[in-house]
């Protein structure tokens, strides 16, 4: 390879690189997507009610919150972190969003801003615990989970926040041209974060920190600031998710989101994220979230009891990740 050839070569290389990258990504989401399609087709045959606009929109709206919070979780997981506090923080955001409407008469947009602000603050706390206090993410966010839930109960006196105006339901139950508003928000969030991760410097740093934090630090990335930023952004999305959840049931629920973290982590991992950092994509996560949602929806449509549902969900989680791992080993066999 001589220097003269290089530019031309780079040009050619670029196109094929681009193609290869696309294909490799497509393959990477292949397993989860295949599972999704198979399940979709199976359900279409198994239940006459499945393939109806109503049901599909229902699934969309039901999954919206999980998908948004799973998106947040994916960002954190890419940095080699984990956020166990999502459930508590979503509850806190939803409850406070509902309280400012009920008690202070805030309009919906302002309440949403409050919820997002609560999420951002919690994210900031998580970020500082991880970066400044150097507490491992699992523990930092486990603490936030416990503290957050305690605060929700203290603030509400352990009673749901009721008596909200009809307008409060807009985020969760409203529609735009027949499409649930929550679905629209989810799409915007997913596309935005996917773009951020794959096309911007912020995204590049996120993957770099998860892949090798020390290398990122030595490369002159301000890892403390940047990692905190990831947690804050994740918190913003969790706050938004919590607000949508509250809006869907038209009340602030102190019990909301218990063990939500397991669902969203499962979605991210089914979608190809690695808990050891550096890997994960939003498309995959969204597919993962819908896969879980379809199983749950299908189980009810087919009147499968919750007990068998749990068994089926477990098996599907195993299967999705097994095939994904298998495919990757075939493709790379890293040794």
């Amino acid at each position: 390879m001589s220097t003269v050839e290089a530019p031309a070569d780079a040009q050619r290389g670029e196109l094929s690189d681009w193609l290869r990258e696309r294909i490799s990504h497509a393959v990477s989401e292949f397993t989860a997507a295949t599972a999704l399609v198979v399940l979709f087709v199976a359900l279409t045959f198994a239940s006459p009610y499945f393939l109806t606009t109503d049901n599909l929109f229902n699934i969309g709206a039901q999954t919206a919150v999980i998908a948004i919070i799973a998106t947040a979780q994916t960002m954190v997981i890419i940095t080699k972190g984990i956020d166990l506090s999502v459930g508590s923080v979503a509850a806190l955001a939803g409850v406070l969003g509902a309280m400012v409407v009920r008690d202070l008469g805030f309009p919906l947009w302002a309440a949403t801003a409050v919820a997002i602000g609560v999420g951002a603050l919690a994210g900031l706390l998580n970020g500082l615990l991880v970066t400044a206090a150097r507490i491992p993410p699992f523990i930092a966010t486990l603490g936030t989970m416990s503290v957050g839930r305690g605060l929700v109960f203290i603030i509400t006196g352990a009673v749901g926040v009721y008596g909200l105006p009809r307008s409060f339901q807009l985020l969760g139950n409203g529609e735009i041209m027949g499409i649930p508003f929550a679905v629209v928000i989810t799409v915007l969030v997913a596309v935005g974060v996917a773009f951020l991760l794959s096309q911007t410097r912020f995204g590049q740093y996120t993957y770099a920190m998860g892949s090798n934090l020390e290398a990122a630090r030595r490369s002159g990335i301000r890892v403390g600031r940047h990692l905190t930023g990831v947690y804050v952004l994740a918190g913003v999305l969790v706050g938004l998710g919590g607000m949508i959840a509250a809006s869907r049931v038209n009340s602030g629920q102190p019990n909301y989101g218990i063990s939500l973290e397991l669902d969203v982590i499962a979605a991210a991992v089914i979608g190809g994220a690695s808990l050891f950092g550096g890997q994960g994509r939003i498309v995959g996560t969204i597919i993962g979230a819908f896969l879980i949602a379809l199983v749950r929806n299908g189980a009810v449509l087919l009147d499968i009891s919750i007990h068998y549902q749990q068994v089926i969900v477990g098996v599907i989680i195993w299967a999705a990740v097994y095939f994904d791992q298998y495919r990757r080993r075939r493709l790379e066999s890293r040794g």
Binding site: Q199, T200, E214, A215, R217, R218, R222
Partner: protein, 250 residues
């Protein structure tokens, strides 16, 4: 650039016990010493990875504090670490530009949008210069051979250096051709007025390229020598302390 009386402790291990070190503009200084002498540790204090416990660092005669690698980089100090410090999951191109990404021009760039094509082309050109064959610049680093990884790390430091380049055993895993290219690059950097610090266990290489040699032993400077006045044996003697060289050196 100069370091004075650097002390660095890890728990109860004292890796540096008052080490001194000097490199001037337009000079290649080889830093040599036995395994565990403290070379890598000294280099990490110079590049802000390990802030020293005692002692000071001077750049252009003025004391500076490198609390983080960002500070050192801002002062134009670029380093290849012995343990490489590359992000395995990122592509070769992304690693080369890590922390210094090329952004799109215009407002999109100000939003942090990457110009991936420019980075791919730049990376291909830089690696070409070192004569290394790498499948594609979009390959993740995890898939490269030991020598290929090292080439990426070296290319990375060379692209960005403006003032001081520190190379901690940069050719340990390189083939003969690539080693030659790296030495060429080192010479060119010196000729462009940069300071180069080279850590190596390869004495012939040291004598070939360095203007001066500083010897570290047990965390202290044991000798300062002119490369054209000494032989391999002198260097070995200085490192191991088996001869008197370390006493009269300086």
């Amino acid at each position: 650039m100069e370091a004075r009386g650097i002390v660095k402790r890890f728990g109860h291990v004292e890796a540096l016990r008052g080490a001194d070190f000097t490199v001037r503009r337009g000079e290649v200084v080889a830093l040599i010493g036995d395994n565990g002498a403290g070379k890598s540790t000294l280099i990490k204090t110079l590049s802000g990875v390990h802030p020293p416990d005692e002692g000071e660092i001077l750049v252009g005669g003025r004391p500076v504090r490198f609390a983080t690698p960002v500070d050192a980089r801002r002062a134009g100090v670029e380093t290849v670490y012995q343990d490489l410090a590359v992000a395995d999951d990122l592509s070769v191109a992304a690693n080369l530009y890590l922390g210094r990404e090329i952004l799109r021009s215009g407002p999109l760039g100000r939003l942090g949008l990457l110009d991936k094509r420019a980075m791919r082309q730049g990376a291909a050109a830089a690696l070409d210069e070192l004569g290394v064959r790498i499948p594609r610049v979009t390959t993740p680093i995890a898939m490269l051979s030991g020598g290929q990884r090292q080439c990426v790390a070296v290319a990375r430091a060379i692209i960005w250096a403006t003032n001081v380049v520190i190379l901690d055993e940069p050719t340990a895993a390189l083939g003969v051709v690539q080693t030659g290219r790296v030495l060429d690059v080192v010479r060119r950097a010196r000729d462009a007025g940069m300071s180069v610090v080279l850590v190596s266990h390869n004495m012939p290489q040291v004598l070939e390229i360095a203007d001066r040699v500083e010897v570290l032993r047990l965390g202290r400077r044991a000798a300062q020598l002119r490369a054209d006045e000494v032989s391999t044996d002198d260097l070995v003697a200085a490192m191991t302390g088996s001869a008197g060289t370390d006493r009269d050196g300086r």
